[in-house]
């Protein structure tokens, strides 16, 4: 009885696990290996090259004409910009998402469902198309640019193809990822605790800080993670709204697997991206465990 | 009755989980349930009564022991091969089917022709007076109506045994009383064995031919409601069913039992040593001080409508309740000393 149930469970799980492990796990493993090889040949990878960490070194240093290694800031800058953009976007999403989630939780059941649908829809609609809409709004000869330039005293400004445009696009793309987890925490929140805080002499602001914030912290952490990680690997937004000078890690990876055709180097950049993600997620998990233990 | 039982359970044990974390829910339980019997498993939540019912239905498998239904060994048979049907606590009516489809479900599984399914589903619904609701969905029915449909659905395939898992617990008090009477009538009309699980002692005493009181995976006492009520054998049984007074005494080697305060009763018989005696509040009487077996202090009296309830304190500090049905009996004074008369045949010696 028990063993036949185990066999049945195994058979039911087999296709899902096989597909995910073969089409996601295996490729990631292969990429780790390729990141140690050299570019070459028609397929983009020289499979016979001896494994080395040269691709990782190239992220920071380059070989000068006379063979000495000198610091090459190109990728370091891109790396820092990616982290900064992801951090700024996470912060902006938090600032916009917190009030929205708070407000939603206080609505009637119908109101909440309508809002939930309105927040969910952008989450599922085409990322490319939504970023393209910002391209129309911000472009050089558009109404927005003309309106801004009419009041801007310091000469003509370009709204598109800069870090600000990318930050707007990223915030726009990932805002629902912040609102939804925050809302799910607020929805379950026991509002009588605020009454209790008021009763014990806390003002509205103090109640928010001392009672609400600590209790909704898990939602804030979850939402931040959901925004930060995809931002770090963003490709579409910087490709459409950023110019050549605002590339992020995703654009480097795409370029190496596309026009530059240096797959091992692209693989190394991908591994770095995964490593940052892993560090952030481990930090969160540790925080959660410490919190659970406390 | 015992030669040809409807259900017999022999030395059944069941544990959930394994190793150190295993929870033993049934310990070596044996019961024999006769044909057309209304048999009730009574006990607090967690006593194993529902697990025992689920073992009979086939939703759980016994770790050891044997279960026979109608003489056939069904210990390892799946639920769909057992001639029993269940009325679930939450009814478990299929929400995507009409009342008629629900009631006809088992008949369709048994491969009956369509016209016969319709006729028998109609008959079953008629039995519970729900025929006019045949085309409704369960969600459109009240709790009591759902309860009736659940009964009809379980009775439609004419099972040998009907299992009822706290079927009345979701109903309000008034409806519950009505359904109790209806259940009893249905059982005698259908002429099949009912195995009923409940934690409500009053319900168990009202409905059953026999009651098994369970605690911590064991059956403590089994018998007709009257003997369970009047002659509980365990402290737990006495405590669980109705109001009871417990008196700590000492059985003497010379026979007789010494009560707190020093008086000695001639019976009932017990092995020498400390004993607990149980007596129902309505079986004791207040008599003038000094003329009973013990003197006690009257703490409080309350009028219950049909009786007076007196609360007394015994010499060892234990409290004692008396229900006096004779309202014309003289009213003792509060705080005063009264005598307590205990007929020996009303005293019951309890096991721990």
């Amino acid at each position: 009885m028990t063993s036949s149930a185990t066999v049945r469970r195994g058979l039911l799980l087999l296709p899902a696990l096989a597909i995910i492990l073969l089409l996601i796990g295996l490729p990631l493993g292969l990429m780790g290996w390729v990141s140690l090889l050299q570019k070459g040949g028609s397929s983009g990878v020289d499979w016979s090259a001896p494994p080395s960490i040269g691709n990782y070194l190239r992220l920071v240093w380059e070989e000068d004409f006379d063979g000495t290694m000198i610091l090459n800031p190109t990728y370091l800058v891109i790396f820092l910009r990616s982290v900064a953009q992801a951090a700024v976007t996470t912060f902006l999403c938090l600032c916009l998402g917190l009030p929205v989630a708070l407000w939603m939780a206080g609505l009637s059941k119908t109101g909440r469902n309508v809002m939930l649908l309105l927040i969910t829809i952008p989450f599922w609609t085409n990322l490319l198309v939504r970023n393209y809409a910002w391209l129309i709004i911000l472009r050089e000869d558009g109404w927005t640019a003309r309106a801004v330039n009419a009041v801007w005293p310091f000469g003509p400004v370009q709204l598109l193809y800069n870090d600000v445009a990318v930050a707007i696009g990223l915030t726009y793309s990932f805002l629902p990822f912040m609102i939804l987890p925050l809302y799910s925490v607020f929805e379950k929140f026991d509002w009588r605790l605020i009454e209790a805080a008021h009763d014990l002499g806390a003002t509205r602001r103090r109640a928010l800080k001392r009672v609400v914030l600590p209790l909704v912290m898990p939602g804030i952490v979850a939402g931040s993670l959901l925004v930060f990680i995809p931002c770090l690997g963003a490709f579409v937004t910087p490709a459409l709204l950023g110019g050549g000078k605002t590339a992020m890690l995703g654009n480097v990876i795409q370029a190496q697997f596309g026009s530059a055709r240096n797959w091992p180097f692209g693989a190394a950049v991908s591994v770095v991206l995964l490593a940052i993600m892993l560090v952030v997620m481990t930090a969160m998990a540790l925080w959660r465990n410490r919190r659970a233990a406390a | 009755m015992h030669d040809d039982p409807a259900v017999s359970i022999e030395h059944v044990s069941k544990a959930f989980g394994r190793g150190a974390t295993a929870v033993h829910v049934l310990h070596d339980v044996s019961v024999t349930i006769g044909r057309r019997e209304f048999f009730t498993l009574l006990g607090p939540s967690g006593c194993g009564k529902t697990t025992l019912l689920r073992l009979i239905a086939g939703f759980e498998t016994a770790d050891s022991g044997l279960i026979r239904i109608d003489g056939a060994d069904v210990t390892d048979a799946p639920p769909f091969r057992r001639p029993v049907n269940t009325v679930f606590q939450n009814y478990a009516l299929f929400p995507h089917m009409t009342v008629e489809q629900n009631v006809g479900f088992a008949l369709e599984e048994q491969g009956l022709p369509r016209d016969q399914i319709r006729r028998r589903a109609g008959e079953a619904l008629e039995m519970v007076r729900m025929q006019s609701f045949a085309q409704r969905r369960p969600a459109e029915l009240s709790g009591g109506q759902q309860q009736r449909v659940a009964l009809a659905r379980a009775l439609a395939p004419r099972p040998k045994v009907l299992l009822l898992d706290e079927p009345l617990s979701a109903l309000d008090l008034k409806l519950r009383k009505e359904m109790q009477i209806e259940l009893k009538q249905l059982q005698s009309e259908a002429g099949i064995t009912f195995i009923f699980v409940t934690h409500d002692q009053e319900e168990a005493l009202t409905l059953s031919d026999r009651v098994a009181v369970m605690q911590s995976g064991r059956i403590l006492q089994m018998g007709p409601p009257r003997s369970i009520y009047e002659a509980p054998t365990h402290r737990f049984v006495a405590d669980f069913i109705g109001d009871i007074n417990l008196i700590e005494g000492e059985a003497l080697a010379s026979g007789g039992i010494r009560l707190p305060g020093g008086a000695t009763l001639p019976g009932p018989a017990a092995a020498p040593g400390r004993v607990t005696l149980a007596v129902r509040p309505e079986r004791a009487k207040i008599v003038p001080a000094g003329s009973g077996v013990i003197d006690a202090t009257l703490v409080h009296s309350a009028f219950l409508g049909t009786a007076m309830l007196h609360k007394l304190t015994l010499p060892d500090g234990a409290s004692f309740l008396i229900r006096e049905a004779d309202l014309s009996a003289p009213m003792p004074e509060r705080g005063g000393t009264v005598g307590l008369s205990l007929p020996v045949e009303a005293l019951q010696v309890l096991q721990a």
Partner: protein, 257 residues
């Protein structure tokens, strides 16, 4: 005093809704603009919609997108349904299994996309529709799995016990009780998987071989070539399809149990 109302949350919420929906409205409005230069509004017209209907590249890309999304979401839903049934009850290793199933949700898509490209090329699997269907099936699994699991978790096990008690064997119980009750969850999962596949750009971008462009890949390369009213029109159509399908799955998910 209503404790649930915090000052300014309403105003911020309205601003956020505007922020989320104004670009969509602007895009839609421009798609009806008759003027070719797209900056000057002349008058409303359906010209660009008529034009995308007759554009052979768009037709081919649309067809590829539909075939891809249909194949990948059907496969993913079937696989996810099996996985959801298997992970319904607790067993040792369930949470690990769930993490593996949800892996595609956490990993950055661009990394998975180039890694898959690397695998296919090194194994000699030719790029194109087949490669895209395989990769899409993998990342659609969690999107189909989550709604089905949610529905299963809300489903009391006593319905199935009741069916077995009423003489239905395992298979009959699944067909007559489990599946009909699970159906809204399966449909919601299928819809979400379909939308996810239909909207996907990155994976298709790397795995589409020559001649098998999907609609998002076509739109991307068209944007790179310059903003045209046709892109506005086709983008609007894509948005509408997504909104329609997501609303549908939302209502399916909320269907009475």
């Amino acid at each position: 005093m209503n404790l649930r109302r915090f000052p300014a949350t309403r105003e911020v919420s309205i601003a956020v809704l505007a922020f989320l929906y104004i670009p969509v409205v602007v895009l839609t409005a421009y798609s009806f603009n008759a003027n070719r230069t797209a900056t000057v509004w002349t008058h409303a017209s359906f010209d660009w919609y008529a034009r995308i209907l007759t554009n052979p590249s768009i037709q081919a890309a649309t067809w590829n997108s539909i075939v891809l999304a249909t194949a990948a979401s059907i496969a993913a839903t079937g696989i996810a349904l099996m996985a959801a049934l298997a992970t319904r009850r607790a067993f040792p290793g369930r949470s690990t299994t769930e993490s593996v199933l949800n892996l595609p949700l956490i990993l950055p898509e661009i990394v998975v996309a180039v890694a898959t490209l690397l695998l296919f090329v090194s194994l000699g699997i030719s790029l194109g529709l087949g490669a895209m269907i395989l990769a899409h099936t993998a990342f659609c699994i969690p999107f189909a799995y989550l709604p089905i699991r949610a529905r299963l978790d809300g489903l009391s096990g006593s319905y199935e016990e009741a069916a077995q008690d009423l003489y239905a064997n395992r298979f009959r119980t699944f067909r007559r009780v489990t599946m009909p009750l699970l159906w809204p969850g399966v449909m919601a999962g299928f819809t979400l998987a379909f939308v996810t596949s239909l909207d996907d750009f990155l994976t298709s971008f790397f795995l589409s071989g020559p001649g098998t462009t999907t609609l998002p890949v076509y739109i991307f390369s068209a944007i790179r070539a310059g903003i045209t009213p046709e892109i506005n029109a086709i983008s609007t159509v894509m948005l509408l399809i997504s909104i329609l399908l997501v609303s549908l799955s939302f209502f399916l998910g909320r269907l009475r149990r």
